[in-house]
Symmetry: C2
Subunit: 457 residues, 2 copies
């Protein structure tokens, strides 16, 4: 079955399921729907209208709907509506059947009262697990971990570990790592299912467990956790408190989402949008997300304009100067954006630390001198040939040289300073650094022009 | 053990290992080194100098070095040197012990002759596997898959499947999914280890296998594969040819690398750098990567300059016009970059397809009108208050309105057109779209100014 056939089959299935749903053929619907992967179920669900969804809730059990919600990806603001449609006890029941970390993600989108009321009517054990997770701050290891892991003791045999594993296999989010804890619930080792499978039944866990466990602390930044799991190729990572008590685990699927989110977050910020808005939202929604940035940049642009205004006298005498303003400002913006992107990625991946900060600055200064020198010489030549004025050529060339050097340096300094001040350096977007560099370039250009005015007339 | 203690311990270990290596204490070194995770081994290895590495090759077997190389991340150009240092038969032996997909990654960095000579002296089975993988084009599913998977037949029992699994557990890259094939080696189902564990020994595989297997075709783009695995939360995905023969599997760790690479690739392009250069490379290296872009942008900037030159007469009469050039051009660039980022992410995630293309364009046109209108009114007011000239205010305001509308539209049209022409839309970087929009904005601004000249003097 090729790719396109797979797609066709999926579309046919969706069409048939919709008909069965509308015609209220519950038996046939369940038979066909429940064999689908949760991702396909969630895709089907996301396309239903309210009446169809209400019908679906009558066809499925709370735990079956929970399975859909674990994979569902809809805009955050829609969850409130989706849960309000359900009977409250149905919704609470559904939440208690979800993996605790996924349930927390849903509850975080609701207003506090609504969330609290679900927790009240939910069964106690599930509510307890969820409440514990709700405490953790967003973007920390605690906020993406789940408490449904399998733990054993070091003095067990492989046989007894496998028995526990079989019993808990359907509840646990992953069974591919089993964590070894001591009497105080402190993490002392890890065994992979692969190790269990290839070992004899009578082997002691203490003999095959790996005791140099890499773990995350519960308050650690989720991006750091993702980096660790990527480096070590782990399918799951244990999360511990400061006394090394095992609190939960983070699974690789959550980490992929983190990597994806952080990357598109950095990307959006480079382009000065709050977040990449969903394509299916209307223009008002898009404008609302972009206008704050644009208005800030507008006022920074006004500052640039007023700066040029100071040089009106110079401009009145040599109007040709105006011709090169966008060229010089533009080049400053371009080189600044390049340096910015390198610095932000370096900070995000941890490649740029405290020691290598000065190295980066020195490197960028060097790069600025080289690119500035090359572009400066090029421009001098072109302007001279074009206007036949060697002084004009030298002025524009020298401005490009000075501007590119300073702008490259600024592009790396600004994010480093922000990082130092504990501001997310990615907030220094491309347009922001471009505007800063506009100002720098205009000062250099008109400064030089005013200084050497006598040669230009 | 907290995070900082973990780090301290790691540094201590590295220091001790280095001493043992230099003092040629082979027994103690092996004892301590071989218990480390391959990522930590690779980190240690990457910091050695040539003499120390040569020493290491005498301490470790080829298969032990293979384990390091599976995780090693050094700049691509370094592999040639690292392999050349080893005895050729040691290197070939090491390559044959690596997972085939990782060995292919290393061989792809060598020149063809060097790679071919290793394949000749390597053992036949490994060479055969690697040669097959070497055929696949970069960035396809084939290029990142491995052939070390476990397959069984549908008419086996769980007991016999578990026996195969135990036998192959140490060779296979993942044992957490087992693929079911028919007599012609066509893929017919998949069973997770979780399902095997919870089933009775005598159960038939055909009864518990999932037969709606999601697979990737061998020539499919790796980014699409990553998206599928992310959507379905798979730990591995089977790769088939057009007749559905099972060729290999892609594991989640490779997919994380793909997601990471593609994200930083898009990011770099938005900032107009060929790729985010490693921070530890010198300024010449950085300048070499950035200059091509800067020079292209320089000539586009010249075009803008010559365009303004056409309006020199207008400028001579009303020098104040020059003051607002960077403001208007800058705003056009900002709004264009925003629209560009949304379009590129939409295309990359597949959210923007053929049907939704027109919707995006209409949406961006609407967004441009709203942001342009808002900023235009703001600017008119500010310029009027500042210069006390209502016509100047209206001119700048109207230019901002028209420019933002057109620039927003251009920001989404350019990547869509490139996508249509089968050019990677991410090549349309922020600086590129900014320069295009510079030109558009200057035409609008000076066009309007020339038209309404009589009101301005």
């Amino acid at each position: 079955m090729g790719r396109s056939e797979q797609k066709e089959l999926r579309e046919e299935t969706e069409q048939r399921l919709l008909e069965l749903l509308i015609e209220e053929k519950i038996e046939e619907f369940r038979e066909e729907f429940l064999v689908l992967h949760s991702y396909d179920q969630a895709k089907f669900y996301a396309e239903l209208d309210e009446n169809q969804r209400l019908q679906l809730y009558r066809f499925l059990s709370p735990s079956e709907v929970a399975y859909i919600f674990e994979t569902l990806e809809v805009p955050e603001e829609d969850y409130q509506q989706l849960l309000a449609e359900m009977h409250p006890s149905f919704a609470a029941d559904m939440l208690s059947h979800m993996y605790a970390d996924d349930a927390v993600d849903v509850l975080n989108e609701l207003d506090k009262e609504q969330a609290a009321s679900y927790l009240t009517i939910m069964d106690d054990e599930a509510a307890q697990e969820i409440k514990e997770l709700l405490h953790y701050e967003e973007y920390t290891a605690g906020s993406i971990m789940t408490t449904e892991f399998i733990s054993i003791q070091a003095n067990q045999t492989v046989r007894s570990a496998m028995r526990i594993l079989k019993r808990e296999a359907l509840e646990a989010e992953t069974i591919y790592y089993v964590y070894v804890i001591d009497d105080e619930k402190k993490l002392v080792g890890v065994v992979s299912l692969r190790d269990l499978i290839v070992s004899d039944d009578e082997t002691m866990i203490s003999d095959i467990m790996y005791d140099r466990v890499v773990s995350a602390s519960v308050a650690q930044d989720q991006e750091e956790v993702a980096q660790t799991m990527r480096d070590y190729n782990f399918l799951a990572l244990p999360v511990v408190d400061f006394q090394n008590h095992l609190l939960g685990i983070i699974t690789v699927d959550d980490v992929i989402d983190v990597i994806d989110e952080e990357a598109s977050d950095d990307y959006s910020k480079l382009a000065a949008i709050s977040d990449v808005d969903a394509v299916d939202k209307g223009p008002f929604n898009a404008a609302r997300k972009r206008l704050p940035w644009l208005i800030i940049l507008l006022f920074l642009g006004m500052l640039t304009a007023s700066l040029i205004g100071r040089f009106e006298e110079t401009l009145n005498k040599v109007a040709i100067l105006a011709v090169f303003i966008p060229l010089i400002a533009g080049m400053a913006g371009n080189t600044g954006t390049q340096a910015l992107a390198v610095a932000i990625r370096g900070l995000a991946t941890g490649e740029v630390g405290n020691e290598s900060k000065w190295k980066l600055i020195a490197r960028e200064a060097g790069t600025g001198l080289i690119t500035g020198g090359t572009c400066g010489i090029l421009v001098t030549g072109v302007v001279y040939i074009w206007h036949g004025d060697v002084f004009l050529g030298l002025l524009v060339g020298a401005s490009i040289f000075a501007t590119l050097t300073v702008a490259t340096l600024a592009g790396s300094l600004v994010p480093l300073i922000m990082h130092r001040l504990n501001i997310d350096p990615a907030v220094a977007s491309g347009p922001f650094i471009t505007t800063i560099n506009d100002i720098i370039s205009i000062l250099i250009y008109f400064g030089l022009a005013t200084l050497f005015m006598s040669y230009l007339q």
